[in-house]
């Protein structure tokens, strides 16, 4: 069931079983961004026009982002066939921030075809790549934001980076697999809280990023084999 509540004079619609899972919001001070069914694609490049898209294709083949042709899904990312091939999607603009007293929600439901992959999902300052070009690790010297990251053969972990340095991390109790999972980040105005399938992974209020942020999905292969990522939904909402 969907319930609603008031925050800073805006009406928040949330999952009745999970107050941290925001579904929608209505109000003069609501900033929201939702990946829609039929996400517009550029007629020439084929890339989603709401995103700054960076593709990596080391050899033959293409890394593609398309509207999914599976009911209940919005986007399908299909990487080319080499290690590190992949797609980095950064929603245009930076409309969100961890501002005191101004709560925000980010959520994405996604599955990957094989755990031998890297991905970053969350709210980040704009870059063209969040993962090192030729190493299975984050671009530590440039990244600011709050995000989940999975590195090939590793576990899913929640991260907070401020001023290009890691300020917090925690590993989800459940390792990733090829099933759908929901990754959520809820900023209550003082603490940032990370949830994996509705279970709190960690909370932190220490050394949080002060920059403007935008939703990001960076997905790529962990080895020389094609991987796919299916995105059922993604949304970000902030009460300013």
């Amino acid at each position: 069931m969907v319930n609603s509540k008031w925050i800073r004079e805006a009406q928040i619609f949330y999952d009745g079983d999970n107050q941290a899972r925001w579904l929608d919001a209505i109000g003069l001070n609501v900033v929201k961004l939702e990946l829609e069914t039929g996400t517009p694609m550029d007629d020439t490049t084929g890339d989603p026009t709401r995103c700054v898209t960076t593709v990596v294709e080391a050899g033959a083949g293409d890394s593609l982002t398309t509207n999914s042709e599976t009911a209940g899904e919005k986007l399908l990312i299909t990487n080319a066939g080499n290690e590190y091939d992949g797609v980095c999607l950064t929603l245009r603009g930076e409309a969100f921030e961890l501002a005191s007293g101004k709560p925000a929600y980010f959520g994405i439901k996604m599955k990957v075809s094989n755990v031998a992959c890297d991905f970053v999902v969350g709210l980040m300052e704009t870059l063209t790549a969040y993962l090192e070009a030729a190493a299975h690790t984050v671009v530590a010297a440039a990244v600011d934001g709050v995000f989940f990251m999975h590195l090939t053969a590793g576990a899913v972990a929640a991260y907070s980076y401020e001023n290009n340095a890691q300020s917090a991390t925690a590993v989800a109790a459940t390792a990733t697999d090829a099933n759908y999972h929901i990754y959520e980040i809820y900023w209550d105005g003082a603490y940032v809280n990370f949830y994996y399938d509705g279970t709190l992974v960690t909370s932190t209020a220490v050394s949080l990023t002060t920059g403007a942020l935008t939703p990001v999905v960076h997905f790529r292969n962990g080895g020389a084999a094609v991987r796919t990522a299916n995105i059922a939904w993604m949304r970000a909402i902030q009460i300013t």
Partner: protein, 243 residues
């Protein structure tokens, strides 16, 4: 707080204390257009794909339209740096009309970097290649402009609420609030018989005479009034009609 009411079987969400300020609507007969963060942009030209974009650039440099990198702001328009250079955006299609008993709302929260040395038109207009003159004078283009809109001309800070039909002005009224560089909310409501203009929630004027009959669409025209670039930050813009 947000309240809701029913109009023609549609649920209208409005700001408590200001029933004219529509925030959202749900219903089978609801037509709406909204500028939100993450606007789609052409990967080659960089222009927003939901709008027909006309830029005026007389010399070197370029006018740009981007998703803002400031939290809480959806779009940023930056003119080039020669007088009359600027940007016109009209949402593609013409989905809105002043039809009897079919109310609508248009609203925008925006700021501009120079209150005096700039031209600004915002509102609902019939599609037109240039709503504002691109040379010689800082005026609304004489031919064929039709719509309901706010207009501020270069060299002044007076904001005027205007109605135009077939290129001729049919009503005008000055807002008591002068343009400055702060963010303000400009709203136009049609209650089905009368058109109302508001600046920051204060009624500027109402009229029911000689109104546009053409189909209309959300429109913005920003020009620099001198040889220096100007910017416009759009926090949000929305149009809603109950058809």
């Amino acid at each position: 707080m947000v309240n809701s009411k029913l109009i023609r079987e549609a649920q209208i969400f409005y700001q408590e204390g200001n029933e004219s300020r529509w925030i959202d609507a749900r219903g089978q007969n609801v037509m709406k257009f909204e500028v939100t963060p993450g606007q789609a942009s052409d990967n080659t030209t960089g222009k927003p794909t939901r709008f027909t974009t006309v830029v005026t650039e007389t010399g070197a440099g370029s006018c740009t339209i981007v998703n803002s990198a400031t939290a809480g702001i959806a779009m940023l328009l930056t003119t080039d740096d020669a007088e009359y250079e600027g940007i016109q955006l009209q949402a593609k299609g013409e989905a809105f009309k002043l039809t009897t008993d079919k109310p609508f709302y248009f609203g925008i929260k925006c700021s501009i970097s120079d209150a005096t040395q700039s031209d600004l038109l915002i509102g609902l207009c019939h599609t037109h290649a240039d709503l504002v003159k691109t040379a010689v004078a800082h005026e609304i283009a004489a031919a064929d402009v039709e719509g309901v809109f706010f207009w501020k001309a270069d060299a002044g800070t007076i904001i005027k609420a205007k109605t135009y039909v077939a290129g001729a002005e049919t009503a005008t009224a000055n807002s008591a609030t002068a343009m400055d560089t702060s963010a303000h909310i400009y709203e136009i409501t049609w209650d089905g018989t009368t058109i109302n203009f508001y600046v920051d929630g204060i009624l500027v004027t109402s009229t029911a005479a000689s109104l546009p009959t053409e189909d209309l669409t959300p429109s913005i025209n920003l020009r620099t009034g001198e040889n220096a670039a100007k910017t416009m930050s759009i926090y949000w813009m929305r149009a809603i009609q109950i058809i």
